[in-house]
Amino acid sequence: MIRNIFALLLILVISVFLASSIASIPFGTEKTTVGKYYLDKTIEETGSVNTVTSVVVLYRGFDTLGEVTVLFLAATGLGAILFGLREKRKRKKERPSLIMRTGTRYLFTAALLFGAYVFVHGHLTPGGGFPGGVIVATAFLMLFLAQEGFRVSEKGVKFVEALAGMTYVAIGIAGLLLVGSFLGNFLGTGIPNKLASAGIIPLIYITIGLKVGSEITGLLQNMRETTEYES
């Protein structure tokens, strides 16, 4: 009890400290040098009309590569730790209904397509590789939920995941070789607002989309297998 109260006090002190620190940051002023630069120069420098995308994929593309890796790691790590533990915990569940099963079959393709659309148009519209990939994974999630005994090929997932990841890095190295800078835009900016514009951004978003999609699918599969249906 005393421990808890003391802990509460400690947290209070930390909160006060942080709050008072943060309170001193003037908000909304034009202090963010870098942000202003991005807003001003995006289209000119990258050809992407979606500033967020250009920041994510070009200005801070290296971070994105890192974040993709982090996501990959999370999936891999989870897979590694859950490996072999799958069969241990079984829960019984009611089977999905017929409507569910039929409906998901039709929705699956649409969802896949939508996901692909989102990551291909990342430089033009809101969205991009990450949401796109998640939408793709959602398509598979539907099947996992609705289709009894549905499995994706583990090898296939791995293959796509690996290839997508490698392609991302390969694009980066291509930039290094062609324009002397890792992840450098070796395709030119193109005409803004066209689909085939903004240089390597769409390419990267495609790889990200595929990678995220396959990763999350794999992750879902890993987690799904802890359940079993009532027969």
Binding site: F17, L18, S20, S21, I22, S24, I25, F27, K31, T32, T33, V34, G35, K36, Y37, Y38, L58, Y59, R60, G61, F62, D63, L65, G66, E67, T69, V70, F72, L73, A74, T76, G77, L78, G79, A80, I81, F83, G84, L85, K155, K158, F159, E161, A162, L163, G165, M166, V169, A170, G172, I173, G175, L176, V179, G180, S181, F182, L183, G184, N185
Partner: protein
């Protein structure tokens, strides 16, 4: 000059490719880490002459010049740490060839590569947010690798590590947010240039958050509770990397942030106190420890404390000692853990002192390697540890902190005590009944990899010149804040009219 970015790109592409190798043949997987770090080590040696020049260069990514894009700030200090990480990684990757990885093996190798990659990225990057990203890569792969054997203690250790580590990274992110919120930039050089204009309360807050966040990885005192458990539960090659790569990367981040970004001597000198406390806690905890793995883990904490102490002394001499000590500690601990892994093969997995009693009589070469590691840790010639410890103590005294140097020396007495006890157990004439005549596995490959590390220790001990030069330029580079700022964003500042 070859591009340092390849140090990250090549292992990354290889890490992604591990499953593909596995599709061809299951046995091919284990060569991937070796290829990756073999290549990286080659690159590092190509870059080393550059590390001797004391210059920091900015490697631009995506053709966008800092402070707007991300860049690698490759300087002697970072390269020195990258060298440590790569050497340890190479030896460990070689060791992996004869190691039965926990299943799933492809994921194990991927995580393994990414762990090293993350640490390498941390020491090379010039962007604070990128540093955070690499910290995440490092720590997440470390959590996963700690728990990968899926035993009870491993899961528990992994959980503890995850809890502390993720909280730490969150704090780092918060710190970055504070800085970005007030300065509007993420480039470390740019931040360093502007930080004097920042509200000092915010700087302090960010400094605290960074110390706590990176302190978890650097095994700083109250944040290192995960260390003994993780070192005991994780697979041996991972442990070698935890002390050889992860801890060093955490230390680098701490030093870089405090010296370059914050740059306030008062705050840096807090490291003196934390270093001393960490050192005493580690050494004392090791004193009565009977399990050698945990003992080495505590000793690792102690050594990290000593290095922190050197970094806290805020002077070129002590930092010189600190970087040298980081090098020898990384190599030595990796050696000790790799040898310990083989020792455990001969006792059916047990690593407590009683099980290993008399090991030296049966396996003289292995124990000799172990003894080299121990003696080097104790700072005895003709091993690398002698020079680093000498440089560290003398450096701290010359930089004006004799009291702290004296405390550090007192802590080493404890260290000497338990290591001497360890050696006397290993070289005891009484044999443990658990020792088997021959290990179940061929130990040629571990032998070569441990010999490689021992050879580095002895070579550096006998010819410390290059080592000194590297450490010298590394320490000067760390302290030369103005040069760092200028070489990264000098062009930008000029274009802004010298603002």
């Amino acid at each position: 000059m070859v591009s340092p970015i390849l140090l990250i790109a090549v292992p990354l592409i290889l890490a992604f490719s591990v499953p593909l190798w596995g599709l061809i043949h299951k046995k091919l997987e284990k060569f991937v880490p070796l290829i990756a770090f073999g290549f990286n080590t080659y690159l590092i040696f190509r870059l080393l002459p550059f590390a001797l020049t004391e210059r920091t260069i900015s490697v631009v990514i995506a053709n966008i010049k800092p402070p707007f894009g991300i860049n690698l700030a490759v300087g002697p200090f970072g390269l020195f740490f990258a060298l440590i990480i790569q050497l340890v990684a190479l030896a460990t990757a070689f060791y992996l060839l004869s190691y039965d990885p926990p299943e799933p093996s492809d994921k194990f190798y991927m995580l393994f590569i990414l762990l090293v990659l993350g640490s390498t990225g941390m020491v090379l990057t010039g962007d604070i947010f990128n540093l955070f990203v690499f910290l995440e890569i490092t720590s997440i792969s470390a959590y996963a690798l700690t728990a990968i054997t899926k035993t009870g203690p491993a899961a528990e250790a992994g959980f503890k590590y995850l809890l502390l580590g993720s909280l730490g990274s969150t704090l780092v992110l918060l710190g970055i947010a504070l800085i970005y919120g007030s300065l509007g930039t993420l480039n470390m050089a740019h931040i360093a240039h502007r930080i004097s204009g920042m509200d000092s309360r915010l700087v302090v807050a960010a400094a605290i958050l960074f110390i706590v966040g990176f302190g978890v990885e650097a095994e700083m005192l109250p944040l290192n509770g995960w260390v003994p458990d993780a070192y005991q539960a994780a697979p041996i090659p991972v442990v070698a990397l935890l002390s050889g790569a992860v801890a060093k990367a955490g230390l680098y981040a701490l030093a870089r942030v405090l010296y370059t970004l914050i740059g306030m001597p008062n705050i840096i000198m807090l490291l003196l106190t934390f270093g001393i406390l960490t050192m005493f806690a580690g050494e004392l905890a090791a004193l009565r420890q009977n399990d050698i793995r945990r003992l080495l883990a505590y000793s690792s904490i102690g050594q990290m404390g000593m290095i922190m102490l050197a970094f806290g002394a805020f002077g070129v001499n002590s930092v010189f000692g600190g970087v040298l000590q980081a090098f020898t500690h990384g190599i030595t601990k990796a050696l000790l853990f790799l040898v310990l892994g083989v020792m455990a093969l001969h006792t059916g997995g047990a690593t407590d002192m009683e099980s290993l009693r008399g090991f030296g009589r049966k396996f003289p070469y292995w124990s000799m390697l172990f003894a080299v590691g121990v003696l080097s840790t104790l700072g005895l010639p003709p091993f690398a540890g002698f020079w680093s410890k000498l440089a560290l103590i003398i450096g701290v005294i010359i930089d004006g902190h004799p009291t702290y140097a004296a405390l550090a020396l007192i802590a080493t007495f404890i260290e000497v005590f338990y290591f001497a006890r360890l050696l006397s157990v290993i070289y005891s004439s009484k044999l443990s009944p658990k020792l088997v005549e021959r290990s179940i596995r061929n130990t040629t490959i571990p032998l070569l990899s441990a010999t490689f590390l021992a050879a580095i220790i002895i070579a550096v001990g006998l010819y410390p010149n290059v080592f000194f030069d590297l450490g010298d330029s590394a320490s000067r580079a760390l302290l030369n804040r103005a040069h760092y700022i200028f070489s990264i964003i000098g062009h930008y500042l000029q274009s802004m009219g010298g603002v």
